[in-house]
Symmetry: C2
Subunit: 498 residues, 2 copies
């Protein structure tokens, strides 16, 4: 039978130690005390096998409540830093590895810290996903009228159900997939049903899903030259080798595909509205591309990012709907036509690829969040989207005209451009008065104007004479101020180049 | 000056053609007529250079409004299928490529269609992200009390702002990152600030982000054996070579790391609660792992997926907080403790890796949707999360006890298990009465009971004697029914094996 000894009132071997307690911290006092003692143990300030002061003594010396100290000690014991000897007190364990028993050190030299090849490429790719600041002439800005805002809020109110929850279908909500299939059949001549649709977090995730499901590192991918950087770099990060096919006023020069030797796993195109150059792929080239893909067993990745915004005539039908060989993967998004922060896009895949995409999809992020999908499904199926699009199209047409007028009025000496009949951006080309689009964009940014240099979007070397200007949600005063600032910037560059 | 001739009233060369119009379809009539004619052109039913009937004639013959036909023709012209000759009518173009001019064919033989190596691996990995059906003993079920449901609904109501929108910070909302940093500092002894946090769409996307930023194809990654399949396969899909380090009742056997020869880019661990086996990594092993990682320049990926649910004692502090060398990437999620469909998890990375992660993050899906983040940020910073967790923990403790009681009462002849002091699942091991966990799980599924075989989670060959049973949100009647069904299943298997 153990003898219950009264602990001797001797000086604690850790009497010099005073734990740190910040009473303004949100961290519980016991947690702070525990951490403070733990740090002292690991740093060697409190030695292995040392006896910690009794809770009674510590209460007095450290000016803390006994409950707090008891809890801190219990945690130390639970985590193996200390053990309790019945009747004798609480002791630091003896086997704290030596390597941990030095004063907390500064971080070691990290110059050799390793990251992946892909991460190094991503760092080099640079800020193609630039700041989120809402300045003219940034792309991707959205301002809705009160009607759309109110409808969305009302619909969203129905879907705030946070009681029961579970993991969902990897392809996304059935209701949204059905609504998208109906919408695209009618508006884009896409041929699909809901079972072929994968809801994604915007176009970028759709590209990522496609690349991972179809491209093996080392495979060749053909892209438009110039090409949307978000797509180009995504393929490169997955180890694809890229070949750029030049673009002219009818889109990708598909005749050049015939002279391309070798195999290509996929061709990435923006046929409705070439990004960034703005052309629509002509019908004969569409057919040529489809035939080439069929003959060469290549996939076509059709990125239809902004077909909703056509100001003259009807939008061209999709490549996907023309394709009798199920070689086309069709990508779309609600980021331009509704809300970028909803993060809803989609990929429509040939029926015999559904299983492969469904196997890959969960490894990206399991499944997309249902809330935004439910709101969007109702918004589409209740008919709000088409009237919203009509109003937004008119609003963006006005913004385009504001930008065009401001450029003609102020910047005719520096920029030439065509009035775009589709989309939410235009490209201004140098009249010869300035020579470096990257420098121009950097200088404009200093003045608070966001323009995007076009030359970095080229796969091959290209003239540095293009600036991409977004006009969605542009107001009259913004167009005025931003064009004046851009004029000052380009005047300044022109003067220095003379 | 052109002569305006009256078109001759001759029989149209495409008189036999009748476009298809489905008046119940949501697709506009003009769109349907256009598609119908286009298909006829591409299939050769309407020949190149053929004259289309005049709108007047077509109105009569096809029984459609003239406006609809005019619009359909305009679309055909806009898309290059037809052209209008002034005074003569509308003609199909002559240069439709021959290859397109055959009857619509069935899909070609797709047996040789190519998908990526990763997609083939994903198909082989099988349904580790199984169905979302809410059956006992599935994992990942959540049922909240009325208080939590109401608070979430009220907070969510504040964030339904759909007026202005723009692209956001790739790392996620600042408010949520600050709330997470404060929460983890207090509860998990994690040392970080908001600038090191990347909000992700659950743990799976966090693993994907880590793998892509740190692992180059061909690199070796050490994992626990058995290992969480979602992590293991994710690393493999990115080309990592895996080595399993066996687990015992104190977690990964870190002593075996010393005998591992070669370099490993990363070690993936679940130290708070080894998945699936349930052990907590002991303190001495934690320190051993940290020292090994430092000496070998390996990253440690700490997946702290369910540390919130501890039923006895305090949760163990994180590895990350013990690490003085910034070798640990810490992963957490709100899918278990709040809502899987919120899709909010996070990765906390060493300060000198922030740039590399920030460069890679947008290539996954640009940025996470702000709505769920804003709701969660308020829920955390207004103090609701900790009281919610207290209530949920009590609820899950009751569910655990229900499961334990049901197993003891009914299944003692077939399953042995330990009562888990943490988490939301337990593993039942065969008493010897049955021998194949995959077959048992398949048979149970037929009866409507979801149990997960443990043997496929092993990296090396393993006995097929383990079934993983989730108990979150389990009710008394569910425990009763499901254990009875599982008993019948295992009785049946035992009988057949005799």
């Amino acid at each position: 039978m153990p003898i219950h000894r009264q602990p001797r009132r001797r000086e604690s071997p850790v009497h010099s130690f005073q734990p740190v307690l910040d009473r303004t911290s949100p961290s519980p006092a016991a947690r702070q005390i525990y951490l403070s003692i733990r740090t002292a143990i690991l740093s060697g300030q409190i030695r292995p096998s040392a006896r910690l002061p009794s809770t009674r003594l510590a209460t007095r010396e450290w000016q803390m409540s006994r409950g707090v100290i008891t809890e801190a000690y219990e945690t130390l014991i639970a985590e193996g830093y200390a053990h309790s000897v019945h009747g004798s007190g609480t002791f630091v364990v003896s086997n704290i590895p030596q390597a941990q028993q030095k004063t907390a050190q500064s971080l070691p030299d990290h110059t050799e810290r390793t990251i992946s090849k892909a991460a190094r490429k991503a760092l080099l790719a640079g800020p193609s996903f630039g700041s989120s600041v809402q300045v003219p002439f940034a792309t991707g800005r959205v301002v809705h009228d009160v009607r759309t805002t109110e409808v969305l809020r009302r619909i969203a109110g129905r879907h705030l159900n946070f009681g029961e929850d579970h993991y969902r279908n990897v392809q996304g909500e059935q209701s949204l997939r059905e609504a998208i299939a109906a919408y695209l059949t009618a508006s884009r001549s896409v041929r699909c049903d809901a079972s072929q649709i994968f809801i994604t977090s915007g176009t970028q995730q759709a590209i990522d899903l496609v690349a991972r499901t179809l491209i093996t590192p080392g495979d060749r991918v053909l892209v438009e030259d110039p090409c949307y950087p978000g797509a180009r770099h995504a393929f490169e990060l997955h180890g694809a080798e890229l070949t750029g096919i030049p673009v002219d006023e009818n889109g990708m020069q598909t005749a050049l595909l015939q002279s391309f030797t070798g195999t290509a796993s996929a061709v990435y195109v923006t046929p409705s509205h070439q990004y960034p150059a703005g052309a629509a792929l002509s019908l004969s080239r569409r057919l040529e591309l489809l035939n080439w893909a069929k003959a060469n067993r290549s996939w076509i990745i059709e990125d239809d990012y902004d077909s909703e915004f056509r100001y003259d005539g009807r939008p061209l039908a999709s490549l996907q709907g023309l394709d009798d060989n199920e070689r086309v993967i069709y990508l779309g998004t609600f980021s331009k036509a509704l809300l970028p922060s909803f993060r809803v896009g989609y990929a429509i895949v040939p029926r015999d690829l559904v299983a492969a995409f469904a196997a890959m999809r969960p490894f990206l992020d399991r499944f997309p969040p249902p809330f935004q999908q439910q709101v969007l499904a109702d918004f589409l199926s209740e008919g709000y989207f088409s009237s919203h699009l009509r109003r937004l199209r008119e609003s963006y047409r006005k913004s385009r005209d504001l930008l065009v007028a401001a450029l003609q009025e102020r910047l005719a000496g520096h920029l030439t451009f065509s009035v775009p009949s589709q989309g939410i951006h235009l490209i201004g080309r140098s009249t010869g008065s300035w020579h470096d689009d990257r420098a121009a964009a950097a200088a404009a940014a200093e003045g608070g104007v966001k323009v995007t240099p076009v030359s970095p979007m080229h796969v091959s070397a290209a003239p540095r004479d293009g600036l991409l200007l977004g006009f969605s949600a542009l107001t009259s005063s913004e167009a005025d101020q931003a064009s004046a600032l851009l004029l000052a910037t380009l005047d300044n560059m022109a003067a220095r180049q003379r």
